[in-house]
């Protein structure tokens, strides 16, 4: 029997003069998974932060098992049995996996840690969730997908009564997501907990949730059992009726024909790097959008990082515009008009206290300066144009750290585009971006290639995204890539996944 575990009513949150939550109500039942959706900046993360004690609300009441509660700190919420995975990765990089898993709930007697017990429990939990780690690794050395899994494992293992997950799957791949969906459903049922999941990928919402709530500009616009709503209804409640209609009417992307393609601007032959890249060959031509697909751990991100000079090249040759290319640093890559958007927002290095506009203009100030004096107006106009085109919602004149996660991502894309790249390397470009804007961004990427002749290389764990935005896709397996192309128009997600799993070596590019 699903009893009401947590009832929030009339939650109000203001930041300065802006009201972010206008009296939001949310009812979480034990044994249920509750989906929370809404456009970027709708207030989903803010709502979860209020429930998790990380942010103090300006109004409203929260009842936990019928008793009113108010949390002064995340520690207080944790003590009351609420566990939360926040949107931004928040593991401590200087600690080990085990230390992170048990942070603030260490196994100890009289304050003395029982390291053996923690190590064993951690190893068991990690293995049960398909992570081949000992637990003694420093988190700083782990890839994003593993970090995200570790955070989720940490929250699930807390024996909480309410579990809040803010976009937990952005870095995960299909297999991991399927397993997570399974786990969440099981945990909700077996442990009788209430789970909230924020997610922009609606198929995941439909796969895992019992109930869905949609927020729009800080107000609840949909609150219903999942069985009673259609996919379209949810989309509509996220982006509004008109937008939804427009989205439907939008013609599918026209893929460039393979015939008249200019000669490649960037080529790699037999490239290997010390950590994880073995043998990569690829060609990237101006005006094309090339997808790079592979399982987690196949070295996709590492390849992009290597092309951008973030990691050293071991062997093999790379050429850019028919000249040898071996960037020693991102600066060197940028000088060659190679630009990269990383899957880790924090690693992209925006300056949190600068507003979005200033962050975007920072790398291109030289273009707008004369003798070292900046023509600020001109620089800002250009930045605002792109920010609007990418539909950044929120105050672009306020410190960028205050934008919602998805809007920060859009601003980072804008920053990359403003650098007028000739080679654009995108790692999970629409991570955390809502359904309405996603199509917009895909169209934008395609137009960059088609109209400005940019060579774009896209990595994504979402097969549908690659098929929507790319002309062709190349596959990476265990640090190897033959460079053989598969036409996106003739692929579907299942085929793509099969290709990535196949172990037969493909013929290598000459």
């Amino acid at each position: 029997m699903a009893e009401e575990r947590l009832v929030a009513q009339g939650i109000v949150k203001r930041y300065g003069s802006a009201t972010v939550l206008h009296g939001v109500a949310l009812t979480l039942r034990s044994g249920e998974v509750h989906g929370l959706v809404g456009h970027n900046g709708a207030g989903k993360s803010t709502l979860l932060k209020v429930l998790a004690g990380a942010v103090a609300p300006d109004g409203g009441t929260i009842l936990l098992d019928g008793r009113p509660v108010s949390f002064a700190s995340p520690a207080a919420a944790t003590a009351a049995g609420i566990a939360c995975v926040f949107q931004e990765l928040s593991l401590l990089e200087n600690l080990t996996v085990t230390q992170n898993l048990f942070l603030a709930r260490e196994i100890a007697s009289a304050g003395i840690l029982d390291k053996q017990a923690m190590r064993e429990t951690a190893r068991r939990e990690l293995a049960a969730n398909g992570l081949n780690l000992t637990g003694d690794e420093k988190v700083a050395n782990l890839p994003v997908a593993q970090r995200q899994m570790i955070e989720i494992i940490g929250a699930l293992a807390r024996n909480a009564r309410v579990i809040l997950l803010d976009e937990p799957t952005t870095a995960l791949e299909r297999g991991q997501i399927d397993r997570l969906v399974e786990t969440l459903r099981r945990i909700a049922r077996e442990r009788d907990v209430a789970i909230v999941i924020v997610d922009h990928k609606l198929d995941e919402i439909f796969a895992v949730c019992d109930h869905v709530t949609a927020l729009m500009d800080g107000r609840v616009v949909l609150d219903a059992p999942i069985a009673t709503v259609s996919h379209e209804a949810v989309v509509e409640s996220i982006i509004g009726q008109q937008e939804a209609a427009r989205l439907q009417a939008q013609a599918p992307a026209v893929h460039a024909t393979a015939a008249a393609k200019p000669s490649p601007i960037l080529t790699a032959r037999g490239v290997g790097a010390p950590r994880g890249l073995r043998d990569v060959s690829l060609d990237l031509a101006p005006g094309e959008v090339l997808g790079l697909y592979g399982l987690a751990g196949s070295g996709r991100s590492r390849l992009l990082r290597t092309l951008y000079g973030l990691e050293p090249v071991g062997h093999g040759t790379m050429r850019l515009r028919d000249r040898p290319y071996r960037p020693q640093s991102p600066r060197a890559a940028m000088r060659e008009a190679v630009v990269f958007v990383s899957e880790e927002r924090k690693a992209n290095g925006f300056i949190p206290d600068f507003d979005a506009i200033r962050n975007c203009t920072l790398p291109v100030l030289r273009r707008h300066a004369w003798g070292g004096v900046i023509r600020r107006q001109e620089a800002e106009q250009e930045a605002i144009g792109v920010l609007e085109r990418l539909r950044v919602r929120g105050d672009i004149h306020a410190p960028m750290s205050r934008l919602s996660g998805g809007n920060q991502q859009k601003a980072l894309l804008a920053k990359a585009v403003l650098q007028r790249p000739q080679v654009l390397l995108l790692d999970e470009p629409t991570k955390g971006i809502d359904v309405g804007t996603k199509a917009e961004i895909h169209a934008f990427i395609r137009s960059l290639a088609a109209q400005s002749g940019v060579a774009v290389l896209v990595v994504s764990t979402e097969e549908e995204e690659l098929l929507a935005v790319c002309d062709e896709v190349i596959i990476m397996q265990r640090g190897r890539c033959s460079g053989r192309r598969h036409e996106a128009a003739r692929l579907d997600s299942t085929t793509l996944r099969r290709l990535a799993l196949e172990t037969t070596p493909e013929p290598v590019l000459a």
């Binding site: 995340p74 003590a79 928040s90 401590l92 200087n94 942070l103 840690l113 390291k115 987690a296």
Partner: protein, 349 residues
């Protein structure tokens, strides 16, 4: 078995988590200590005597204690500039208490409590008023050093309870008491950091304050604790210095102590950015500084050179620390190679 491993590795990034025996981070600095010590020994036979070894440690004990306290503070990403002044004030305090007839063990306990309280005050101002630790402890440094002078009228206070000399001058089994105190404190501190919840939370706070808070770590507790530990260590330093001289000087501890203690921690691998470092390292750093000071004494090098040499050692240590952070997880040899490469000093052949 094999099959399982493969299935798993397809969803994880690293194929197999190799178990590899790693050198502790402090290996480099320990090597440096040994080299420096051997060089001094080769240059002067006096350096090699056991008695000199004990003098060296005795002279280094107070700096070691301060470094210990500073390690805690640095670990949460803070800094405590007030420790030197704390020595002056606490030395005066313990002397005054005894001069007013308080039996010396009680005077010592009261002074330790006062030092801890001073640290708590630092911690509270930093945590609740959000003033940067640099500013807060800089201010308390001024306050404490002035108070020491004001209370005493800049006069020294001689100590009349002979029992008190045991703390500064006593020997147990031939080892000076201050050295024993330092050893005991270091072991306790090391255990606290590595074996307790509080220790883990201190590292967490220094690693990323906001992330630690969100995870449910009580950062108020960790912040106040580390400054309290630093205050406690400083008052212990003040008591030892006073016990060695059997006079309370209002200006003890205002020399190189603060600089040398921060240097010791940093040389030992305690990061100024927080979250990284161990007591072992800081203690090796303190011994290294003691060896350099003592060695230069023995060799009759002007003491004017001391700060210069230690300054250079700190610089090398910090450059190294920065490189290590940038290339986290990369083995030492690799770090060195990249250091050389970026500075165009790559060996040919």
């Amino acid at each position: 078995m094999m099959k399982e491993g493969q299935a798993v590795s397809s969803v994880t990034e690293k194929p197999v988590a190799r178990k590899r025996w790693k050198l502790p981070d402090e290996t480099g600095i320990l090597g440096m200590l040994i080299v420096v010590f051997v060089i001094f020994c080769a240059m002067s036979p006096n350096m090699r005597t056991l008695s000199n070894g004990l003098v060296l440690l005795l002279n280094g004990a107070v700096i070691g204690l301060l470094a210990l306290g500073q390690t805690f503070v640095l670990l949460i990403g803070g800094i405590d500039l007030s420790t030197g002044a704390n020595i002056a004030f606490m030395g005066v305090l313990v002397s005054l208490l005894m001069a007013h007839g308080v039996f010396w063990p009680l005077a010592v306990l009261l002074t330790l409590a006062a030092g801890t309280l001073m640290g708590v005050v630092n911690g509270i101002i930093i945590q609740y008023f959000r003033v940067p630790p640099f500013i807060v402890t800089f201010s308390t440094m001024g306050v404490m050093s002035s108070l020491a002078l004001i209370i005493t009228g800049a006069n020294s206070i001689s100590i009349t309870q002979p029992g008190f000399a045991f703390i500064g001058q006593g020997l147990v089994g031939g080892v000076p008491v201050p050295v024993l105190i330092l050893a005991a404190m270091a072991i306790l501190a090391g255990l606290l950091l590595s074996k307790t919840i509080l220790g883990t939370h201190i590292y967490a706070t220094g690693g990323n304050r906001e992330a630690a808070r969100l995870a449910g770590v009580n950062i108020t507790t960790t912040t106040i604790t580390v400054y309290a530990v630093s205050g406690l260590c400083a008052s212990l330093g003040g008591i030892i210095d006073t016990g060695r001289l059997m006079v309370g000087f209002p200006t003890t501890g205002l020399g190189d102590e603060l600089f040398f203690s921060i240097a010791a921690a940093v040389i030992g691998g305690v990061s100024l950015f927080g979250g990284v470092g161990r007591v072992q390292g800081a203690m090796i750093g303190a011994v290294l500084i003691a060896v350099v000071s003592d060695g230069m004494n023995v060799l009759n090098v002007s003491s004017y050179w001391q700060s210069l040499v230690i300054g250079v050692i700190v610089l090398i240590a910090v450059i190294f620390d920065t490189y290590r952070r940038r290339s986290a997880g990369v083995p030492l040899s690799e770090t060195l190679r990249s250091l050389l490469r970026t500075h165009g000093m790559r060996r040919t052949g």
